[in-house]
């Protein structure tokens, strides 16, 4: 089979199925469509994960390799945060203290796993080289986490009521991600040199700015299309003021239906 067709069948169509399936599963109201969408997304996910083996010649399959490499720490972090959040002071569905300990362990090991990918030998390697998409994922994640955590810290402090402790916790997360980024820029890891990290940090920043402006433009065009359509619609026909006869008729109907003597 032609390489392009193979890549389309074993990577691009499953990737599309993953994106569309996830979107439909999240937005559809019908339970049947939701169930089908989940199956489609899961099938797409498995095919994308297998793409480094099924279409090793396609450069895009490196994304499947990255997905396979980060699915573990991402799942640990998400599970950990979920268990930690719902084992605290929540009114409904509070989890046990054992769940809290498991949550703390999951979050800790998820973070260690991610750090090991930069500072130790767990870096996602493909054909003897660092997976190029890991160098997109990690700086983007660090850069955005630093800004968002700092924003969350100040939001809690200024918009919340007596939320200083929570704000400080978010500042710690922001400082941690900030420090990790600075360390990555200054110190070499076993597979990623500081210079390589700095280069990809700039590229990640460019990516974030570019995507932000691009998405903003698309939303602007979307709003413009709706506005043009809505303003082209004929204005709604307003009814004439009711005549005296109509008002008298309405008054008699109302009078017949109030009082309640007949009921």
């Amino acid at each position: 089979m032609d390489e392009m067709v193979q890549a389309a069948l074993l990577f691009w169509i499953p990737a599309l199925a993953l994106v569309v399936g996830t979107g439909t599963a999240l937005s559809s109201r019908s339970e049947r469509i939701k169930f089908l969408s989940k199956i489609i997304a899961l099938t797409g996910f498995v095919f994308v994960l297998l793409s480094p083996m099924t279409v090793p010649e396609s450069p895009s399959s490196a994304a499947g390799h990255l997905l396979g490499s980060i699915v573990g720490p991402c799942a640990l972090l998400i599970t950990g945060i979920y268990l930690l959040a719902f084992s605290g002071n929540v009114e409904v569905g509070k989890l046990s203290s054992t769940d809290r300990k498991i949550g703390a362990a999951c979050t800790f090991f998820g973070l260690i796993w991610f750090e090991g990918m930069h500072w130790w030998t767990w870096t996602p390697m493909l054909n003897g080289e660092v997976n190029p998409y890991w160098l997109v994922f990690w700086p983007t994640f660090l850069l955005l986490s630093t800004g968002l955590s700092s924003g969350a810290a100040f939001s809690l402090r200024y918009l919340g009521d007596s939320r200083e402790n929570e704000s400080n916790f978010m500042l710690i997360i922001s400082t941690l991600t900030f420090s990790l980024t600075v360390l990555g820029m200054m110190l070499d890891g076993p597979n990623i040199s500081s210079e390589l990290f700095r280069d990809h940090f700039w590229l990640a920043a460019s990516d974030l700015f570019g995507i932000g402006i691009g998405v903003g433009l698309a939303i602007l065009v979307f709003a413009l299309v709706i506005w043009i359509y809505e303003s082209s619609l004929p204005s709604v026909k307003t009814l004439d003021v009711p005549s005296k006869q109509e008002l008298a008729e309405a008054a008699s109907i109302i009078a017949n239906h109030i009082g309640g003597e007949q009921e």
Partner: protein, 150 residues
């Protein structure tokens, strides 16, 4: 300036200052990747626009559902998406302007698409960590008394 406007200004600054500080540190450490960064910015902008316009075109079906299925806005959004895709391919075929390490415009377009998906994944994880962190911080705190009688 009202208190609310001041608060929002502080929050926007809080979001943007740490990344800007990181950029200053990276600049002080001295690397010249201006040309690469420009190419990446351009590629991210056009791909981000086309990708998001495509998703919003799908979203237009839901808008059409609530408006007796008009075709004009649907076609308008599809046209906006196609326009983005055509501009992307045209810009990518202008030699070295936006081509990174890929041999052809099509390879660069596919590479851009995969990169935007990976970036979206990274952004999603960053949002999960931040929002999750806020929830963990709020629910970890002992229950507060709302009134003294409680």
């Amino acid at each position: 300036m009202s208190e609310i406007a001041k608060t929002w200004k502080v929050i926007v600054m809080a979001i943007s200052v740490p990344p800007l500080l990181l950029m200053i540190i990276a600049a002080l450490l001295g690397d010249d990747i201006g040309s690469q960064a420009f190419k990446r910015f351009g590629n991210a902008l056009i791909t981000g626009y086309t990708f998001c316009a495509g998703i919003l075109s799908i979203n237009m079906f839901f808008y059409a559902d609530s408006r007796k299925r008009p075709l004009a806005p649907l076609f308008g959004m599809l046209f906006a998406t196609l326009f983005g895709a055509m501009v992307t391919l045209w810009l990518l075929s202008q030699g070295d302007l936006l081509l990174e390490e890929n041999g052809s415009a099509m390879a660069q377009a596919f590479s851009n698409l995969v990169r935007i998906l990976v970036s979206t994944l990274a952004m999603g994880m960053a949002v999960i960590i931040t929002v999750g962190g806020v929830f963990v911080a709020i629910t970890s705190r002992p229950k507060r008394k709302l009134f003294e009688e409680e």
